[in-house]
């Protein structure tokens, strides 16, 4: 799993990602995210990398509870 930045343009991607959510309700947003994850996973392909990504996503930084908002 790559740990260093590999984005060509991180800010532009982030903006596109948020733009894509505009006007979606919660359910639609969740479905969109699920579809996007599957699309991106297919771009990655490598089974070992995908497993590492899933493991990394489950492992929250210390002090942050799953599902607890920032505020």
């Amino acid at each position: 799993m790559k740990q260093n930045a590999h984005f060509q343009d991180a800010d532009a991607f982030y903006e596109q990602l948020l733009d894509a959510h505009e006007g979606l309700n919660r359910e639609q947003a969740e479905l969109f995210n699920a579809r996007l994850i599957l699309l991106l996973a297919n771009q990655v392909g490598d089974a070992r990398v995908l497993k590492e990504c899933i493991d990394a996503a489950r492992q929250l930084p210390q002090g942050a509870g799953m599902g607890v908002g920032v505020e």
Partner: protein, 578 residues
Amino acid sequence: MNGTASTYTATAHTNGYEFTGGSGYDLPEYPFLPPPELQGGPTARHPVVIVGAGITGLTLACSLARLGVRALLIDEDNTVGVKGASSRGICYTQKSLEIFERLGIYPRIEAKGVQWSVGRTFAGTDEVYSFDLRQQGSFHLSRQPPFINIQQFYIEGFLVERIRELGGVELRWQNRLVAFEQNPEFATLSVETPAGRYQIEAEHVIDATGSHSPLRQWLQVPFDSRRGDDRWCIADVRFSKHPPVERHTWIEAPFNEGRAVWQHLMADEVWRLDYQMAPNADPEEVSREDVVRERLARQFGSDVEVEIVWVGPYAYRSECVHALRHGRVFLMGDSAKVVSPFGARGGNTGVADADNLAWKLAAVLKGKADPLLLDSYNDERLEAAQQNVCVTNRTARFLRPADGTERLFRQAAIGLAKQYPFARSLINTGRMAVANPYSHSSACTYAPGSAAGQSVQNVRFAWADGTRGCINDLLDWTAGDLLVLVFGDLSPAALQRLRRLCLDAPVRSVQVLGPEAVAQAQEHVRDPQGHLQGACHVFGHAWALVRPDGYLAATGESVNGHLVSAIERSLGLRGEAT
């Protein structure tokens, strides 16, 4: 998004001063002198009238004075700073500092301001990101540092004094523009003063009046606009604490109820502390002295002695006009675009706008360039304005995410940034201003592999006698003409063609040589470390056409027709874009 949201309530905006407080600064005051028009003089027609003596208008006025162009600058106030509120910009980029060096005020800025290159971003108590600009890219190659922090009014005051020193540009204080009309040849301006009202005519009007431009309203200039509910409150303070001279930003500061905080040093040992408030916070409440002191105590402890120099609550909006030229009127600085303060893309953009138009106006007014060249101001600076609006809007969206998905993604990004380096690139507390490149200007000649349209840093080289020089020294020498740098040895025919070109066109050429090579042109410099070559993005035998604003108009290999047509294009003699 065009127009304004109906739920928006008017708040003091970036330049607001309604609820400002603090002991303030002593600002210079400039005398009102009754203009000759009010003493029976005829209505004069000026080649250039600049409206607004902020950092943008003054930079243009000073640039024109340096290039020997007569101009008139009018301002409704009698001082620098906004009506005595005296804060606004603090952070000046390398490109702006290079421009100020050409104008002759850089030594004063360097002496007064604070240099910095390290920035750190925190989420909660964790540092998630840091940078040192001196280690990044080529910042260290310029004679100017990556950034200097200094209160904006100091630069404005230096410019006023420099303009007086240079002469040729008249400054009229307490002269307010109250009406305007134009025809294809000239504009007529009505100006109100304490001694009465008068009219002047102008061939070129520069609107540098800022974010509440009356000209933009009168001309009904179309623009895009975006505004939100994010509210901030600045406290400029002196205190017994001495934090590091670094740019510190918190996305979620534990001492500010989990909201953002900015911390930065500027001149006179004054710290700029900028606190994000709750959405739609009441500006009067958040700027009350006891509330400000409580906020400072939460960050620095209650035992720290604090002198409050200035307090200013603000909201921000972003705006961008669709065109910078409207008949005889050129919009620049905040008249052309308004951005949030993140990344120092407001004032620095205004300085670059002024630097861009100054040499073009000078070349046209002296008959060295075609008036069509002035349209390239729109090509180049509108692209820069749009880019800066886009970049600052992204930062604003990161700092004040909409509830729901936007906040969720920010939470994910911050968490990942604490664990993995890649996610730091998603943390956006401001992308620092750069010299914006021009990718589709009618005055630049683009070719594959060429860096045309990019800024050339003020790098060092050696004069023929071995002493050190910089690009700015060469731009001083060209005095508003174009500069052709020719790298490597020249055939006799190429040398002859260059001499011809310099006789026929407003161009001066300099041969750039390695440490040992034999010079063929009388005007030559040495580039032992290849910094000039690197700054122009050329390799081996090549030429680079550098404009008076330090931008590359074109590059090429042989001294041939390509160079001739590039020179013509950068003088507005070939209107079509490439």
